[in-house]
Amino acid sequence: MSNISFDGYAPTWCPGCGDWGIRVGIKSALEQLEFDPSTIGISFDIGCSGNMNDFINGYATHGLHGRSIPTAVGMKCANHQMKTIVIGGDGGIYGEGGNHFLHACRGNHDITVIVHDNMVYGLTTGQVAPTAKKGYKSKSTPQGIIEVPVNPLALAITQGATFVSQGFAGDARSLIEIIKAAITHQGFSLVNILQPCVTFNKINTYQYYLKHTYKLPKEHKSSDKKEALAKSMEVQEEKFPIGILYQEKKPVYHECIPQLEGPLSKRKRFTDFEPFTSSFV
């Protein structure tokens, strides 16, 4: 075992917040896979979720709201041997960074994106998130949100993600297994984690999720894209499958860059400039 621990500062989240369970899930998964803080790259988004930057140790960036995915993509390009994960919220990943999310799915970048999905913006005191149910009332939508919710699972499946899963912050045991599978997966993996915000979301509570979630049965064929897509659409009936909806094996982004041999950060400097300069003569 490593002599450095994943434990950073004591979390400042509200008592009972789903983030506590998610942190246990991430930390346990990393430990069980025998990572330590110097062997993992983490790109944190901004928000209550991203505040985990001080509570979980690693080679990390805590950048801008919505931009944690591009940052991770760059980290991975520069050192593809470093396992790289993204930790963010529904606002940063599906709202402000929604464009990056769908393009990272397309690229099958070898990163794991862990999203805290609590349907509200906690750190800015409770405005609606893009995953909130239509009609959800919040500080920014007093009469209820007009838009229909983003469907992250369906979006990921249709845009080319090669691992799409959903967990629940109230079920740490299965969450650990899902995160382990996501991190082990080669390619773009999404772990959407349903999570109560005990302070600002009085609808999507632990009780709500216990009632509306169910574990994907063993017979679920995660290699079947159509079946996975059907499962992802159940959110419209307020049913939330927990587990791995979809998984396939495809070449990952960095494997498709022919000039990339060892890690970019470690190769020797290129100095044979003559063919380039002489092309301008």
Partner: protein
Amino acid sequence: MTSGLVFSKIATRSGYHIFDYTEYPSLIRGGHNTYEVLVSDDEVHGPKWDIDLLVCLNKATFDLHQYRLTDKSMLIYDPEMFEPDGSYVKVPIGFTKIKKEQKIDQMMVNTIAIGASVAMLGGNLSVFESIIQQQFDKKGKEVIDFNLQLAKIGFDEATKNDIQKLEILKKKDVAKTKMVVTGNEAFSLGTMAADCRYYAAYPMTPASTVLGVLAAWQYKNKMIVRHPEDELSVINSALGASYAGVRSAVGTSGGGFALMSEALSYAGIAEIPIVVFLAMRSGPATGMPTWTEQGDLLFAVHAGHGEFPKIVLTPGDPEEMIALTIKAFDLADIYQTPVLIVSDKFLSESHKAVIKEEVDKQMNEHVIDRGKIVADTNASPYLRYKHEEDGISEMLIPGKKGVFYQANSYEHIEDSHTTESGEERIKQVQKRNAKTNTYLKNHFELPKVFGELKDAKTVLVSYGSNKGPILDALTMLDSSVAFIHFTHVYPLPQEPIKKLFERCAGKRIIHIETNSHGQFAQLLRMQTGINLKEQLLKYDGRPFWPEEIRDYVLGKKAQTVEKKPTDQEVKSAAKDKRNTKETISQQEKDLLNKLKVFSKDTK
């Protein structure tokens, strides 16, 4: 290779210096496009007003450029299209006739025109032939031979008339090998020489050709070159790559740069090196995308919220572009902060001849300086943001066992954890601010002075791409005019700059810029208190003509405004047939008919 570039290379391979300049509308096909090449025994840095040889492939070319012709101007034109009015040296070439005989398209007429131009300028056809052979090497012998034939037809057509040939392109026996490069290509060469390993960009004129050049090179030089979904992804991915240990850069124009400005601020506080290439065009918003302007200087200097150190460089020509690009990567690493290279359409897309052995020397002899960026550390505990007098802490490339840290966009303490402590905040602010003084002490370069300040009665002050036209203007003026050229525009040290301007006391000082706000003058005033009052500003999307600067200094009516065609004349001369109602409906009909046939065929 465009025909204009082929012509430039014929000139450099014949032993001459060149400068070329293109104008084109923001369209893919059509519109009035021009390519002008100035050929000279000595180094040249800008375009020239009087046209010696005008190649007219249509009448509009003559109409639109007539006002830059003199009695001595030579005119290549097609008598089947029009007969030019006025006294010029007329060289009729039957383009239309040859086109029909040879069954060639309009693009190939260019080859004939170049052949004819080479003949009229006293050049050697073999120089053109060797370029054709290289250019079409991959397309096989048949294509090469056909193009050689067209070149010869043009050359012979022009030769057989009895008009006195010029000696502008007469091949020289001894000459140093020259490269023909644009500012963008110079930047690309600089990034390679500087060991940049990750370049990302979203296409935007006039920065796009950097992306094209580097993308094509990447399989050989092993750089990773990406075109992500937007500029936000562009710069944030580059910051991720930079954090992970590789030199990274991004390129864009004003609009894309605006999108990147939040990330600059992140790079500032998290102390991540990044080189940003900003090729300006006429703004605001979409503005005039294919035209030049220095309208983003103050924006570049101030981009990013909050206070953080930043270095802004403004190279004036391709040679300076290579040198300053290489330097920019060192500075970004040494100061662990954003470094901006500011270009504009004029510099980015104009070709200039540069001496190859000088470029080679610069690229090959550069020793990379990564400052305090290390792959290993003895520090225990390792403190990413350790307080240091020079403001610069050791930056560990992630990977060392037993260590971890974060690049934190929140204010942080030395070990990189987030803080809101007032005391710690002050220390980190002061640490970051200290970098500016360290830079001014160690790496700032004073502006270059051309001419003798001591003897000068008039001093021109400028920066960036104006260098070219100003230098060429100096050759038309006497020694009473000197020129101060800034390449390191931000930050500026107050005392040394004041001392420099004290030497200009009592002289006429004119600052020259291609924008309407006099942005550099504002920047100079802000940083040093020096107030330049007389200004020569231009903001019509065109670069300065050396003659324009000369005439202004001499207090003469500018030659360059004398005979300019009116707006109406430009419109009617360049009138695009596609814009008439009849052509539009014809185009629509044609397309619908084609679709009908197409759908029948695929049934």
